[in-house]
Amino acid sequence: MPEQNYRVKVGLATCGIASGAAKVYDALQEELKETGTLLQRTGCIGMCYSEPLVEVIEEGGKSYLYGKVDPAGARRIVEEHLRQGRPVKDLLILGESAETDDRSFLEKQHRILLKNCGRIDPEDIDSYMATGGYEGLRRALTTMTPQEVIAEIERSGLRGRGGAGFPTHLKWRFTREAPGEQKYIVCNADEGDPGAFMDRSILEGDTHSVLEGMLIAGYAIGASVGYVYIRAEYPLAIRRLKLALRQAEEHGLLGERILGSDFNFKVIIREGAGAFVCGEETALLMSIEGKRGMPRFRPPFPAQKGLFGCPTSINNVETFANVPRILHQGADAFSAMGTAESKGTKVFALAGKVKRGGLIEIPMGTTINEIVFDIGGGISTGKPFKAVQTGGPSGGCIPASLGDTPVDYESLKKIGAIMGSGGLLVMDEDTCMVDVAKYFLTFTKNESCGKCTFCRTGTNQMHKILERITKGEGREEDIDTLVDLAEKIKVGSLCGLGQTAPNPVLTTIRYFRHEYDAHVREKYCPAKKCKALIEYHIDSESCTGCTLCARQCPAGAIAGEKKKAHHIDQSACIRCGLCLNSCKFEAISVVSEPRVRT
């Protein structure tokens, strides 16, 4: 079969590049030059666990997806598949004759918002327009009044995807109706939750959809300027956004008299400077204004008095990305999916101890078990599933026993967690829940802006107590003190950061109290994670005396003669675990035993 019949796509988002996709792209370019085969770059297809990904599409549209491709694999794909017409079976993960079960990763998903990610070339506006891009804007500008646009959004039931779930149409209506000549649209792309990368993937993989959503919002509320506040840690997303702005301008979709209407709109990109609190809307506005990002009292809400004192609507990346489709295909198509209160789909960044981690999109109402087992393929370590964490530092840990909880705004709230922006971390038996709580408190105490006393010192106190517990120095009253502090921080803080900071602690105490008790009363860590409560041991039977661990040990705590069993000096050991990783004979183990209370 001649090579001209194929199209080849390489996923070049940050995850792909980090796995070596750029080298694969270069290898393919080298192999395919002068052949006429079309080589394209595309965004994240979601299967981060199998990056780098290469897709081969036949003339008739039949697609073959290859996973974990290295440059040598890429050359094999060209030689065997493209030149000889035989798909490379051992690399194939999706498509006819694929022998893996990767298909189930996609089967429970409904990739509507992400339908372009991993399909189109995000650096090419024509590629976006070929899939109906900017048709939603055209419909809005040429056939609808701003009020009708807002009514359409209301009918769709779209709620803010940044985490809190505020109805989008209300935000827009309040901003539209607020008095004032100058109004602003702000896109919140300050994706600060550790463990979340949905917004990055959308911005990298389907850049124009966010821009189109902002334009429609601008028209609806009567704003002529939009800001994108984006993390500086996302250089590729920033680059693609700048490119998209330029292309949209060239096509008359940005600037003056857009599509021949009276609507003018321009977009300014502002890079965030690394402050988690700037995800909070009033802090974000302060940051755009060039000040320290510290939240302020609401009301007045930004819809009345926002950026530079003008009415402002702040929406999340994913919210904007949903808007073009609602306008293009109608509100009913959108609201057909989801539950009574939570419409549409939600994008999650699935990560942690799960076999198939990546970017997933599910209809609201899908259960946690379906996500972890059907889509994620179960636990990567083969150990029992313990919990999932949603909502990052503001969210909670949901135990495996509540795995049939549907994922929607209300159900998650009921069990003490939140939907959040979309981070979904899976934990197995080896995860210490006290350590997880401490981890999030470390984060929030560092990121507290310092304005409210309860948030500033309260989170520090909670962290100190958790530190003490994980060191085996916990006191009987500590857990009650934590709960007491948590309740006070919640009511004593001005913004969402403080109000939600205690959630990880409260949910772990609620569902994993026995682990706290083990640390406090019996001075041991059931998951064998807390350094002060574990010891490393060398089994003298299995140790061959290869000396590798002794050479690796940064503390010089391992001694022993060559070819004889080694041993660890516990007083010198810093419990870094490098020896455990280095041992080739599985002679080193980690232990944590309940101790009698003294």
Binding site: T14, C15, G272, K291, G357, Y439
Partner: protein, 181 residues
């Protein structure tokens, strides 16, 4: 085009830092809320923001120096000290934490001799903990300069640092060769 501009500015910063600083301020001063973009550009150009640069930027822009200082110390992005030859950012996002970011940090400290948040005595490496690099499925992750490395183990860290050292040395040799010729 933007890249070219930045290159020229970096060159100017080496030869005539004050003029470069002035250009940065003028580039943004007409914007609303210019303070943060000014400081970001200074850091992009000079690698860090020193108290003296803040003083000068305040003079050029008319913004109070106290305001610039308060911004530079509020946001994690700004560094008040110069960094080493290679900047290593260790992701401490949740997924990386679960996958052993602490262990990776320890082996990085061991291999580079830099402590977290500081520069190694030989000036080759600066080690920085960051919140999340957004590559959670590849945890644990680090970024060296502009390149991201995922699915790390202490062993891989060792190799990567060795390789980076080699590249650094080659770059330096290359420079010496040019000057000699």
């Amino acid at each position: 085009m933007e890249g070219e501009l930045q290159k020229d500015l970096k060159k100017l910063a080496k030869e005539q830092p004050l003029i470069a600083l002035n250009q940065i301020v003028r580039r943004h001063n007409a914007e609303k809320g210019a303070a943060i973009p000014i400081l970001q550009d200074i850091q992009n150009t000079f690698g860090y923001v020193s108290p003296e640069m803040l003083q000068r930027a305040a003079e050029f822009s008319g913004l109070p120096v106290s305001e610039l200082f308060s911004i530079a110390t509020f946001y994690a992005q700004f560094r008040l000290e110069p960094i080493g030859e290679n900047l290593i950012q260790v992701c401490h996002g949740t997924a990386c934490h679960l996958a052993g970011a602490e262990k990776i940090t320890e082996s990085l400290q061991f291999e580079t001799k830099a402590t977290a948040g500081r520069t190694s005595p030989d000036g080759k490496f600066t080690l920085e903990k960051v919140a999340c690099l957004g590559c959670c499925s590849l945890a644990p992750v680090i970024m060296i300069n502009e390149e991201t490395f995922g699915r790390l183990t202490p062993d891989k860290v060792k190799k990567i640092i060795k390789e980076t050292r080699k590249q650094s040395a080659e770059k330096e040799e290359g420079k010496g060769g040019c000057a000699g010729a």
